[in-house]
Symmetry: C3
Amino acid sequence: MPVFTAHIPAGEYSAEQKRALADALNRSLVEGLGIPEGDRFIVISEHGEGELHLHPTFMGMQRTSGAMIITVLFGAHGPLDDKRKVTAAMARLVSEALDISSDNIFIALIPVPNENFSFGRGDLQLAEGAPRW
Amino acid sequence: MPVFTAHIPAGEYSAEQKRALADALNRSLVEGLGIPEGDRFIVISEHGEGELHLHPTFMGMQRTSGAMIITVLFGAHGPLDDKRKVTAAMARLVSEALDISSDNIFIALIPVPNENFSFGRGDLQLAEGAPRW
Amino acid sequence: MPVFTAHIPAGEYSAEQKRALADALNRSLVEGLGIPEGDRFIVISEHGEGELHLHPTFMGMQRTSGAMIITVLFGAHGPLDDKRKVTAAMARLVSEALDISSDNIFIALIPVPNENFSFGRGDLQLAEGAPRW
């Protein structure tokens, strides 16, 4: 149930590349954390002129016009090691999929408890049992 | 002060249906939790080709092209029972308003403390007193 | 690393005004909390007819068609006093930059721990050491 939202610059990436981005985000869960492949819930938002701002060099990066901000609704129970695994996998797979430097990928993991997710029908499917994903 | 953001597929819903969606989300607070009707703060974002991905069957649902992801900035003090009430009301009222299956409605409640909301003027109007909403 | 997302009505603000909005949000961190100017990560999203709803008077405000919802991914360690400072600075600087009433500026601070941010390369640059920003 990690849910991704990728904020990308308009006009930089084709529809095909957007699908590749979504695939890369999904695979970062599978490869990084062993989450089932079917757990694929992804939003991509394009932002036009003056609507997406990432500082070009803050924290020692070399960001270009293709830089993006990705937020992830991430299980609040996840330990630091899981966070390291998923952000490392995201940076690697997204940079490969889009042929960009991983300096261009800003990530924030927003903690959300398992019991706060409804996969459909208004039920909270993960409210019972041990934490998952 | 629950704030809704509904990520919907572009071209699936008319302007009138978007207003009906907003009304349904607002009524889910009133009917589900007894929150004042005036507490109506809602964002709808459309996403085009390759920009919105919900797995068609994960967790036993039958999702269609009209499927959507709704996030809610939700009072961090809210007990599990309130979460159940609001997601159940959202699924029922949105599916009625748009004539879609509630399998199509993915929801995540993002916990936000009362003292983190400003309704205007830069003040944190809920920082004092007992938790509300 | 506070990350801003401003949801604004489409057609109300020019590209130049959007840049002024981004500048005002950045300065609210510098002036309100002494955060480095380079910590500038900002998303602006426009929403068309029926896609952005703020109640016109709830909580005693007088909101107009230019009203907006701004969310901030904000260090979870921040005390209440820091929250007051940043929302006050945001309301003042955005209302000055856009020449609108601060009644029009709804803000929610979403708590995110320092260790959940990657500024690039998949590393969690703030995971070690004392909380920052």
